[in-house]
Amino acid sequence: MRYLVAAHGVGRRFGEHVALEPVDVAVAAGEVLALVGPNGAGKSTLLAILAGALPPSSGRIELGDGVRVGWMPQRPAHYGRLSARQNLELFARLEGVGGAEALLGRLELPDDDRPAATLSVGNRQRIDLAISLLGDPEVLLLDEPTAALDARQRRRLWETARAVRDGGGAVVLVTQNVEDLEHVADRVAVLLDGRLVFDGPVADYLRSEAAGALA
């Protein structure tokens, strides 16, 4: 099995607070991994570390050769005073890739001069998704991507995740939504108080005590 991204003993502390105990997680090509757990369990921290946006306090991240990683954080992560187009064009130039125009149309983003900060939460979430898709990444890291999306947009996101997986890539999806697990996930990792307490197929998870505890 070819792993595209792997965390080896990765942990993170913020001062005295332990956000994430050392964990080992790997995502293989053609796989969608769902990270679940209650608020403050360390899911977003692990995803930010996998994205390279946050340095780990311990352990290391291993990335496959030439693997591109796209990351969509939980909170809006773009410039509120710029329009959707300006944001996409800026990040495309910073990454040295094209495709901003195509993503603008594909994700049905508003193509006008309105500052992103004035757009709806759902639109802002789609701007972040578009930025994470710049350069056609092999690994897509999505932090609660469906939280503010309507049913139609949620289906389109699942299609996007499946397209990455079916293209030989991998997706790590932080979610609280059981629908996401049923429609798109292959494997589930459960974090509880910064510790990895479950890692297995979706069907096993849904029958497990962990799922019952989180329900």
Binding site: G52, A53, L54, W71, P73, A77, R81, L82, L90, L94
Partner: protein, 442 residues
């Protein structure tokens, strides 16, 4: 360096999309510069000095045959101080409280001594201990000098009248005694009536020589009384609102304020907008993000400085005032603006990194910039420590750089020294800002 330029372009775009913020950022430092100019003018206002008259000087005093209106004379000589008459006790109390900068006391018997001219009468000056004391002392010395000048003129006039009596004869009064003399003219007339003789010829020669010599006495007395005279030509320099000092302070304040605020706010905003994580994951390193903020400070400083220079230059040309070489020196000033903007921008980025949050960063930048500016305005002679402390910040160096590059005939010494200071401070602040920026990621 492509990524920092992209971030710079983004920041300029954000500024363009925030016209109110941009307007306030541009107007605020210019208003502050103007206020400081007015404050500087106020600093040149007359200090209040108590006048204690223990002699009971009458309203009119006659000295050397000339009568002086005392209050008018005081108004005329006290050009740089505000003299306020008060009692001895009140003056001492107000000096202790700092309500007057000094007390000048006219001792009993002053006018009598002045009229007798046996010995110079004395005035007594008591000063406080504040930084203004040297200035007050100089102004009171100037006041006594001006008084002496008026009295001197009276004495010279009296002396010339006596010389005139010696030449032409007539009636006069010395120390209350009236007298009448024939003078050299009268002596010559009497000699002419005497029979010729060698003795008469000798006396006639003496009278002739004496008349010639005394005829020159008028100018000689004036020249020896005041060997060097100072003539004042008015209206040749700039008005204070257009002075070199106001222009260089205006530039330095504008750059300090804008550079510090923009660099601090925009760096902290990268974290506030949750974008810093995107940037540091291989797109743009922290050092380059800080460099982009320094570049933002430089770019905005250059634009504003050019506008300020143009405004001053046009006002100076329109006013037809002389002094300075604003147009030829603009490139040198702009080089200074780049250095000053970079140093201030690096300091601002340091604040942004430490504050981590744009509102706090902006507030800290505003709170920091005013003391730094005022510290840089304190003259070295008044508080030397403030002058040395201000050396640790770019403001004072940039003000000196601009003043010298705009108005010194040979600015290279000052410009070189201040440029080295700005470059050194910029490098130090940049290194600290790069370290502090790590706080934005964790």
């Amino acid at each position: 360096m492509k990524q920092p330029l992209l971030l710079l372009r983004k920041d300029l775009l954000v500024l363009r999309r925030s016209p109110l913020l941009l307007g306030v950022l541009v107007a605020y430092p210019l208003v502050i510069a103007l206020l400081i100019g007015l404050t500087a003018a106020y600093a040149n206002a007359k200090p209040r000095v108590a006048l204690v008259d223990l002699d009971g000087i009458p309203p009119r005093v006659t000295v050397a045959g000339q009568t002086f209106d005392v209050d008018a004379l005081i108004d005329q000589v006290a050009k740089n101080v505000e003299l306020v008459r008060m009692g001895e006790g009140e003056a001492a109390q107000q000096l202790a409280a700092g309500r007057v900068a000094a007390v000048i006391t006219v001792p009993a018997g002053f006018v009598a001594d002045l009229k007798a001219l046996v010995a110079s009468p004395h005035l007594t000056l008591a000063t406080g201990t504040g930084g203004i004391t040297p200035r007050v002392r100089q102004q009171m010395q100037a006041l006594v000098y001006n008084l002496n000048l008026h009295l001197q003129k009276a004495f010279i006039q009296a002396d010339i009248r006596y010389v005139d009596l010696l030449l032409h004869g007539g009636k006069g009064v010395v120390l209350g005694h009236s007298f009448s003399i024939i003078g050299l003219d009268g002596a010559a007339r009497l000699l002419a009536r005497l029979p010729p003789s060698p003795e008469r010829a000798q006396i006639e020669d003496f009278v002739h020589d004496a008349r010639l010599a005394l005829a020159l006495t008028d100018n000689a007395i004036r020249a020896t009384a005041a060997p060097i005279a100072l003539d004042e030509e008015r209206g040749r320099g700039r008005t204070s609102a257009l002075s070199a000092q106001v222009q260089s302070y205006g530039l330095a304040i504008t750059i300090s304020f804008l550079g510090l605020l923009l660099a601090a706010g925009s760096l902290a905003a990268e974290r506030d907008e949750n974008v810093i994580g995107r940037l540091v994951r291989g797109l743009v390193g922290l050092g380059r993000i800080v460099a982009a903020k320094v570049a933002l400070a430089v770019a905005v400083s250059l634009a504003l400085a050019l506008a300020v220079l143009l405004a001053f230059g046009i006002a100076v040309e329109a006013g037809g005032v002389a002094g300075g070489e604003p147009w030829q020196r603009v490139p040198l000033v702009l080089a200074g603006v780049v250095l000053a903007g970079a140093a201030v921008g690096a300091a601002g980025a340091l604040i942004g990194g430490l504050a981590r949050e744009p509102r706090t960063a902006s507030l800290v930048a505003v709170l920091a910039v005013l003391p730094v500016v005022f510290l840089g305005l304190v003259p070295r002679e008044i508080v030397p420590a403030a002058y040395w402390v201000s050396d640790a910040f770019p403001f004072a160096h940039s003000a000196r750089f601009f003043a010298s590059s705009l108005y010194d005939r040979s600015p290279w010494g000052v410009v070189g020294r201040e440029a080295a200071w700005l470059a050194g401070l910029g490098a130090a602040f940049f290194a600290l800002a790069r370290l502090s920026a790590r706080r934005l990621v964790v």
